[in-house]
Symmetry: C2
Subunit: 152 residues, 2 copies
């Protein structure tokens, strides 16, 4: 099996989309991450779900976890709604990591190795022109590997 055998259509966001909309999209679709594309549908970032969630946490609380403990409960529930119109692009890491992108003919072993290395439960699958074809998610990859295994 290869990546194109387990690729699935995934909704994407652009750097101009509001963070709040991106997080809601992920919550609604139950995806383990989000792919950011440019106007040509070329992936510019593949964000693990935890890093999308991180966009919603005020920077001061990211660096000083003890601060999060000082926020009282009702306010802690609402921090998300204070995002305003911050965009995905504004929240992307300053130093982008290696893109979790694979070619459609990549093997499952390549996909698994990249997921582990990039710590991303979502990979962007691209065609020869670099444009997004879809995503490979951890659950689907595990299921495929589980079936391939004789004891599965």
């Amino acid at each position: 099996m290869r990546a194109h055998d387990i690729v699935e259509g995934v909704p994407t966001v652009t750097a101009d989309d509001p963070v709040a909309a991106a997080v809601r999209l992920m919550a609604r679709t139950r995806l383990p991450g989000l792919i950011v594309v440019d106007t040509r549908s070329v992936p510019t970032a593949v964000l693990p779900g935890t890093q999308v969630l991180r966009m919603t946490v005020p920077r001061s609380h990211q660096a000083h976890p003890s601060l999060a403990r000082t926020i009282d409960e009702p306010h802690a529930d609402l921090f998300w709604s204070e995002l305003g119109d911050r965009t995905v692009g504004e929240c992307l890491p300053d130093r982008p990591e290696r893109l979790a992108v694979i070619a459609q003919d990549a093997t499952l072993l390549e996909a698994a190795a990249l997921m582990g290395r990039a710590r991303s439960p979502l990979l962007a699958v691209v065609g020869d022109d670099g444009r997004l074809l879809g995503g490979v998610v951890l659950g689907r990859l595990l299921a495929a590997l589980s079936q391939a295994s004789p004891e599965g």
Copy 2:
């Protein structure tokens, strides 16, 4: 809301369990990670799904991704079945990272901050005695935050 409001029962593994069984457990339960506990039910590791998957990838391929590309397709599908009886404990990272563990009275902001920092879509929730009460998963946390938000 606090962690105990969104905690759920999650299956666990011990360091003595075979990696193959741990991966199958994750595939079957669709959990985004696994919690490793000791004989007293105290969490000793919280593994993001990508790191559980990584346990199945031969070390040589983790370090040299180009090697994965040289493995032919049928063999690439079967690498998983060659794990033999390697245990979870043998595959844990040499230098354990900060445990993704929170107290049951942690706020959702604390939970979100820790998930983002630890890059773990699964948190272990413990009682005052340090024993595991259950897990908080990214999807459930997102849903709770989404409901709490006025625009949700």
